[in-house]
């Protein structure tokens, strides 16, 4: 390669990359910018890397060399593989060294660093509920679920679907009915939800659950607490029916399960947690050894249904009974289902709210 050419080429490359990024930004909008950033970082790494590689005589490139400017594809590929191998070697060496150091230090070794995740880097949410807060306690104590939590009502759930459900949705509803005690599956019969609700109230149902489907796949859930709300609207994804699961147990029994609610910390999260908790009867039958879990992670709510067994004093075995699915909250509406005139307590607005990856709402 001509060394005299290099600076100019570099300039060209820079300009090109800028142009490319500019075009991409126009083309795709927000999401693509992140991709571009990572590209840029790679380029930067390329530029900084040769400083460490200068030690190897055959890899002596000028300090601002980057692999991507080699025009021959095969050579570029070879060089890139070499560069990657080198990098990996260095990393492994550093790891080995660190491990040796740790062993040498023994007990005095510094504690291992916790990896950074977007969850432990979470932006502080000012609505996080403090358990000693009188006002929030009063607000929760007198809300729509207070009748259930004061043990005045027992849950009774009606499960229905959107019109003309297909096999998968029907099976999903039937399996949901085995997971929630005192649940009744009804065929929708083309009825409007607003007309179903008064009938449900008069028959003593405390929940109306509607599974919506798109292209034969269940994709939405409306969970309406009766008689006077609130109504939550969820997106359903990753539905695994019982027959699709590996190593599943036998059919669940009619015992009412225990409920685990994980990570519902904010005020909104508390409301959603209470919504799920009120689906299940007050006193779980511990004989049944069944657990329903609603686990919130990064605003996705994972539902799992297990049976556990105490093998001995230390070990516990669990067996998944299914079904499993993931929920994501779309909106929480005050009052029973009324999508046109209802007042929304919280609406997920993608472009306004999802601007920060470390901000969670539940």
């Amino acid at each position: 390669m001509d060394r005299a050419d290099l600076p100019e080429k570099n300039m060209d490359f820079d300009e090109e990359s800028k142009q490319r990024t500019g075009k991409k930004k126009k083309g795709k909008g927000k999401k693509s910018t992140k991709v571009i950033k990572s590209e840029e970082t790679i380029v930067k790494k390329d530029e900084t890397e040769p400083a460490s590689m200068d030690a190897a005589p055959e890899m002596a490139f000028p300090p601002t060399f980057s692999v991507s400017e080699i025009k021959n594809k095969q050579r570029r590929h070879v060089m890139f593989m070499k560069y990657k191998q080198e990098k990996r070697k260095v990393r492994l060496e550093i790891r080995k060294k660190r491990k040796k150091e740790r062993e040498a230090l023994g007990d005095k070794a510094p504690p291992k660093e916790v990896p950074k995740t977007i969850e432990n880097q979470r932006v502080y949410d000012e609505t996080t509920v403090d358990p000693g807060d009188e006002e929030v306690a009063f607000d929760e104590g007198t809300d729509e679920f207070s009748a259930y939590f004061n043990r005045l009502t027992n849950p009774k759930v009606l499960i229905t679907t959107s019109d003309r459900p297909k096999t998968r949705t029907i099976m999903f509803c039937n399996q949901l009915a085995t997971v929630i005690p005192d649940a009744h599956v009804y065929y929708r019969r083309g009825l409007a939800l607003k007309r179903i609700i008064p009938q449900c109230v008069s028959r003593g149902f405390t929940y109306l659950m509607v599974i919506n489907e798109d292209r034969k796949v269940p994709n939405g859930m409306v969970l309406c607490h009766l008689p006077d709300g609130p109504t939550a609207h969820f997106k359903i994804s990753n539905v695994r029916l019982r027959k699709e699961m590996k190593r599943r147990g036998k059919e669940p029994t009619a015992h009412s399960p225990e409920v685990i609610l994980n990570n519902f910390t904010t005020r909104l999260g508390h409301s959603i947690g209470r919504l799920f908790a009120a689906l299940y009867p007050h006193d779980p039958h511990f004989v049944g050894r069944q657990v329903a879990t609603f686990h919130n992670q990064r605003d996705f709510i994972f539902f799992r249904f297990h049976r556990y067994i105490f093998k001995n004093e230390k070990r516990v075995g669990i067996q998944e009974l299914g079904p499993r699915f993931t929920l994501k909250l779309r909106s929480l509406q005050k009052g029973s289902f009324d999508s046109k005139f209802g007042e929304y307590e919280w609406v997920h607005k993608r472009h306004e709210m999802d601007s920060c990856r470390r901000k969670f709402h539940l």
Partner: protein, 380 residues
Amino acid sequence: MVSNSLDCSIWVGSETGILKGISLKKKQAFNFCEMSCLSRDQEVCALGWGDPQESEVLVGCANGVVKTFSTEKGIFTETRECGDHTQGKFTGLAVTDSALVTCVESGLLKVWKEGSTDTVEMNAGGGVCRMRQNKSQRSRVATGGKENPLKVWDLERPDKPIFIAKNVAQDWLDLRVPIWVRDIAFIPDSDKIVTCTGHHQVRVYDPSSPQRRPVLEAKFGEYPLTALALPASGGSVVVGNTQGQLAILDLRKGLVRGCLKNLAGGVRGLECHPTLPLVASCGLDRFLRVHNLEDHKLQHKVYLKSRLNCVLLSSSCLELSGEDLSGDVEEVKQEGDAEEDEVWDAMETVTDKTKKRANEEPEAVVTEAESKKKRKMAKK
């Protein structure tokens, strides 16, 4: 407690019956209520200033009690029974000279004279959603609600409303358009009234003109508009809906001038600062937000733990920085006025006006002549 209440510049009423004061200067919020005797019956439905000096806040509770809160003393000084559960919640509170005006959902509009027990009652019709007072003519109030058109009342003549709006013409399918007034405001320095409806329309009425139908209708979004406020600058209106979308609409053509972002839940209360370009909003998402109307940016966001129903801004400046700014602005304005006056004084010697008139008159003659010609042509 006393100093706290003096500092507060924003007052918010919550669904749990707590009156909250927020001091943006100290960046603190205070609850003015005994935490031991909370109950949902005391839900704050309406807030208003008790006197023009803004030393008293009137709090209308859902159980029909109007409490007076003294900002100087920091305590509730007076409670009055102004109705009961059966007639619904308060939809508005207003104060005229020596009288308190209340309105409830059933449409009972009452004037409580101070010192005497007898009241003047008016029936505004059922389903009232909001009652608002004209700030410049304090004896005028407007009511409106579900299937209850906008009515303007003169409290001195309680037999009949001064103005009843007429429903708009039937739609393109020849069906009746439903009425649902959710919020009302009087446009200052004119007779006009703005309303927002549950069917996402914003309408401007002009009682001074013979037309009883709206003179302007604009639409915003697809969800019911719940609250509205008029900024100090005039010419526009801020509206909020049940999904937490806030927009500034222009009152000349009814176009959207801009949106205020960052809300998560439905808007229940909106109020603009009487002098500064600020708007405070509160609602079901339990946050109080203060937006700037000029750059549409969020300035303050306060978490207040309960669902909020109504908000009240004091006319004093919200914070220190704002105070300084506004002070500067006012001074500048005064100087400017003085300079302008001088300019005009100097210009008096020139006789522009007469020339203009002289110019105008012949034109008018010409036009008349032309029109005569046209008429003649038409006759021919």
